[in-house]
Symmetry: C2
Subunit: 175 residues, 2 copies
């Protein structure tokens, strides 16, 4: 793993609540060289894989996801919270620690058979990403990979995503 890159991540204790250490990627993103480096690392991983659509979850996922879509020459498809997308959508519910949440994607955003790369900034428990995978597959998209800037290994998100190829650049072994 790249030690210089991980030093660009700011760790904020007790955000958004007590006991959580928030890994803040904005300190990496504001560094033009570091931003370019991580997008190029993703690009090197996926450049030969004929990606038709890059799908990202709002809002932080849009940042590196859209830059990578541009570099790959892929289309960009946003997954959003309910009520944000103006045309016909499909919706997927997923479990939170307490209660449930939902995400949506436009029905006509991914033609059946399209090769899809999903990107998010962070792989934690994997719940949001699993819901994103279900949305893409309900539209007939073929998921060729899941990509993350950060993976929190101690939350075992990979176990919730069996059968998918997963790539993350920065890994945290513990909280």
């Amino acid at each position: 793993m790249d030690d210089d890159l991980i030093k660009k991540i700011r760790s904020v204790p007790d955000f958004p609540k007590k006991g959580i250490i928030f890994r803040d990627i904005t300190t990496l993103l504001k560094d033009g060289k570091a931003l370019r480096q991580v997008v190029d690392m993703f690009y090197d991983r996926y450049k030969g894989m004929k990606v038709d659509k890059l799908v990202s979850v709002e809002a932080r996922g849009f940042i590196l996801g859209a830059a990578l879509a541009y570099k790959l020459g892929a289309g960009f498809v946003p997954i959003r919270k309910p009520g944000k997308l103006p045309a016909a959508t499909v919706r997927q519910e997923y479990a939170l620690e307490y209660g449930t949440d939902s995400i949506e994607v436009h029905k006509d955003s991914i033609p059946s058979g399209d090769r899809v790369l999903i990107h998010d900034d962070l792989l934690a428990t994997g719940g949001t990403t699993r819901a994103a995978c279900k949305l893409v597959e309900r539209l007939g998209g073929k998921i060729i990979g899941l990509s993350f800037l950060i993976e929190l290994l101690f939350l075992h998100g990979r176990d919730q995503l069996p059968g998918y190829e997963i790539f993350s650049i920065l890994k945290y072994e513990s909280e």
Copy 2:
């Protein structure tokens, strides 16, 4: 103006409320060629202008903003709704049709004197962009341009942004 590009925008009547025609950019973004074309148009406009930071407002603004930051080699700085950014922020209030809203940026995101390009997907009345300009200038950033994919000319957003260099790719003369 590019007729082929404007055809990629989907017009959704009565969203988010009756009487509004929403200009939906997702139908352009999902087209890899169109996405590349608009980012390259922005790049051609700003490539010689030594942009240190590309600043965008959540969430749709992140998409083309981050791709453009990558292409320019600039750092990317997100402006967000209150409570989303984990470290110390400055906050700016602005007027809505009814009431007010606020946006925030990290205090340490823009060193004084940095050359800043602001991007958002849409210029409407200009209120959000004006608040974004104030945030950047409170940090000491020098705004070298404001860029938008779409400009709604009939809302006269430019009048709220005197003295700034404004560039938009797709313009609507009327609702």
